[in-house]
């Protein structure tokens, strides 16, 4: 009778995948990801690509907020930096698109680190308000610096090509995006097995104790902002090349809130939680839209109130998760696993 997972050696405790069941599940998941595009239609492929982009962004935010405990409402602004940097590098400097994604991510990391400086003195809700200001300031610069970004007009990015393939076609982009999800997940999981990652977690749990134990708070907080923003930049740059168009409306405060909702609903401080949350928050509006379409014949007025239903559901889902399952989908998934492991003595 197994009552839980207990490790008896450091190797098994430190392993990325600790139990045979975990190994089987990850293999099944990878097989699913590899086979999915061959059975999917255009609509589900688009959704899968959106989930991939959102997952990378959510992992980025989770590094900062979930693992390091620094609440950020600046996600939308940082994504805007990534998207505009990638777009402008391609359009103005004629940089190849794959290089522009890399450079844009580093640019975003630098901007993130700059806006992370107040985090030395601020925490909790003060930091949340400071990052809110960062969001507003970045977006204001984007819409008012006409010479650089074109202001409120959309920035058109040329189609990315690789070996004669148009990479922003849904099928081709799928491989690029999910490969990057894999790399991001692997890097992040490994980050939290190094002393950097453990320092981040120590700062989250008790910053004074961490400082006493020799963690340089300023350095590690800035590093957390930079690493987090790097992945957010990847996600923003991918969005720019996928959509071929960059507009400021895609990066408002609502986006910051959406990503926070993703990691809260998925699970804070967890890579799989980021994937769950990103999938949930991408699929939920799509599901509602489809339900609305199905109901249109019975209840024609649904078209006009659909945006309100979407908004209300968004708010309600956040509140309900916080009250009923604050640890998110990840915890629910673990409860399900526990139920079956302990069966028939589960309670």
């Amino acid at each position: 009778m197994v009552s839980g997972v207990f490790h008896t050696s450091y190797e098994s405790d430190m392993a990325l995948r600790r139990t045979p069941a975990q190994k089987i599940r990850i293999v099944l998941f990878i097989i699913f990801i590899l086979l999915f595009p061959f059975f999917a239609n255009k609509y589900t492929l688009t959704l899968a690509n959106q989930i991939a982009i959102a997952t990378i962004g959510a992992i980025g935010l989770n590094i900062l907020t979930g693992y390091t405990g620094q609440i950020s409402l600046g996600q939308g602004g940082f994504m805007a930096v990534g998207a505009y940097a990638a777009g402008l590098l391609t359009v103005r400097l004629g940089m190849p698109w794959y290089l522009s994604i890399v450079v844009a991510s580093f640019v975003t990391a630098a901007v993130g680190a700059v806006f992370g400086i107040p985090s030395l003195r601020l925490k909790g809700l003060y930091l949340a308000i400071a990052t809110l200001a960062a969001q507003e300031i970045i977006l204001w610069v984007v819409t008012h610096w006409k010479g650089l970004t074109g202001g409120v007009e959309a920035l058109v990015v040329p189609d990315p090509h690789l070996f004669g393939l148009r990479m922003n076609a849904d099928f081709n982009f799928y491989w690029l995006a999910w490969a990057l999800v894999g790399i991001t997940a692997l890097l992040t999981l490994n980050l939290f097995r190094t002393h950097y990652g453990r320092a981040f977690i120590a700062i989250r749990d008790q910053d004074i104790a961490a400082e006493v134990m020799g963690v340089n708070l300023f350095r590690y907080k800035l590093l957390a902002f930079a690493i987090s923003s790097f992945f957010v930049g990847v996600s923003g740059a991918l969005l720019a090349h996928y959509r071929s168009i960059v507009t400021w409306e895609r990066f408002t405060l609502d986006v910051s809130v959406l990503y926070l909702a993703m990691i809260i609903i998925g699970g804070m401080g967890s890579v799989s939680g980021s994937l769950f949350g990103a999938s949930f928050m991408t699929l939920l509006p799509a599901l509602l839209t489809n339900a609305g379409r199905a109901l249109r014949k019975v209840f024609p007025a649904i078209n006009t109130i659909m945006p309100f239903i979407q908004e209300a559901t968004f708010g309600l889902v956040i509140i309900l998760f916080l009250i009923l399952e604050p640890e998110g989908l990840k915890k629910m998934w673990e409860d399900v696993k526990d139920y079956f492991r302990l069966w028939p003595f589960s309670y």
């Binding site: 003060y126 949340a128 809110l132 239903i309 968004f314 708010g315 604050p326």
Partner: protein
């Protein structure tokens, strides 16, 4: 000089309304350590309920205002009881997200009931232009300053003279000590939320009277942050002074510099204050050195 007076009056009006919204915000933070991201939506609901009272039920504005305030009290109590009370003791990010979720829910409810088209508000305050020191300004703006000033004065009396007001400050100071003196902390939280909703409703009605009623009124919720940070998150005089300063600053920057800088100037000030003096002008200084 005309421009200066014009801008000063505009700034004072906006500042007075910001101060009203900020007052409720500070009150909630002071008594329960909760940051309310839905303050703008409270303003919005206040404005729309007042709109319904005046237009759909064609009540005299005095009756309408009283009923609006009653609705606001109900809203405040409901929000506290249903959303915030289950989250007592949860980490700060949960509370922040809960009020953000609440704001989205409330906005959706407002749009479902009233639609999201901006509408003209029946002026219950005269808006005839008045000449003051060579500048021309709508009388409604002057009235807004006066009404906001009276409200702030009344709330100040409430906090210094009435039993409930003093109990509220006691809870803000030390919840456990207040509880041991026989004060019901839960009731005080409900009080704080209702008063916050009430001040927001009055602010909403005042703004609506000047610019009309529409979903963009909720934007006031975000503009409250620079105000409360400047004044100090836990200071009621700070909310008033901060409101006036930010209102004037936005008006002057908009009038003299332009380029849309007035939309962002308060946030730049916000960052600077946070870097130099995070507890604001009048806030309680909590020293924690790491």
């Amino acid at each position: 000089m005309d421009l200066f007076i014009q801008l000063t009056l505009t700034g004072l009006t906006n500042g007075a309304i910001l101060a009203l919204a900020a007052l409720g915000f500070v009150l909630i933070y002071k008594s329960s350590d909760v940051i309310n991201f839905a303050q703008g939506e409270f303003l919005l609901i206040g404005a729309y309920v007042m709109f319904s009272m005046l237009v759909q039920f064609s009540l005299p504005w005095t009756v309408g205002l009283v009923l609006t305030l009653l609705v606001a009290v109900g809203l405040g109590v409901a929000v506290e009881r249903l959303v915030l009370r289950p989250l007592i003791g949860e980490p700060i990010i949960s509370v922040i997200m809960a009020t953000i979720g609440l704001s989205s829910l409330l906005r959706a409810i407002v749009s479902t009931i009233w639609g999201n088209q901006p509408r003209a508000f029946p002026a219950f305050i005269p808006s005839k232009p008045v000449h003051v020191l060579g500048a021309t300004v709508g009388a409604d703006r002057l009235w807004a300053i006066v009404i906001a000033g009276v409200m702030l004065f009344l709330f100040n009396l409430f906090f210094t003279r009435s039993k409930e007001g003093i109990a509220m400050r006691a809870v803000a100071d030390d919840q456990q000590a207040a509880m041991s003196m026989g004060i019901s902390v839960k009731r005080i939280f409900a009080w704080a939320w209702s008063i916050a909703a009430m001040t927001a409703a009055i602010g909403g009605a005042l703004v609506a009277n000047i610019v009309g009623v529409g979903p963009e009124l909720a934007g006031f919720g975000l503009r409250v942050f620079p105000v409360v940070i400047l004044g100090g998150l836990d200071s009621i005089p700070g909310a008033i002074v901060g409101g006036v300063i930010i209102g004037l600053l936005e008006a002057y920057v908009g009038g003299y510099i332009g380029m849309g800088l007035n939309q962002v100037i308060s946030f730049i000030v916000l960052i600077l204050i946070l870097m130099v003096r995070p507890y604001g002008l009048f806030g309680q200084e909590i020293i924690e050195r790491v």
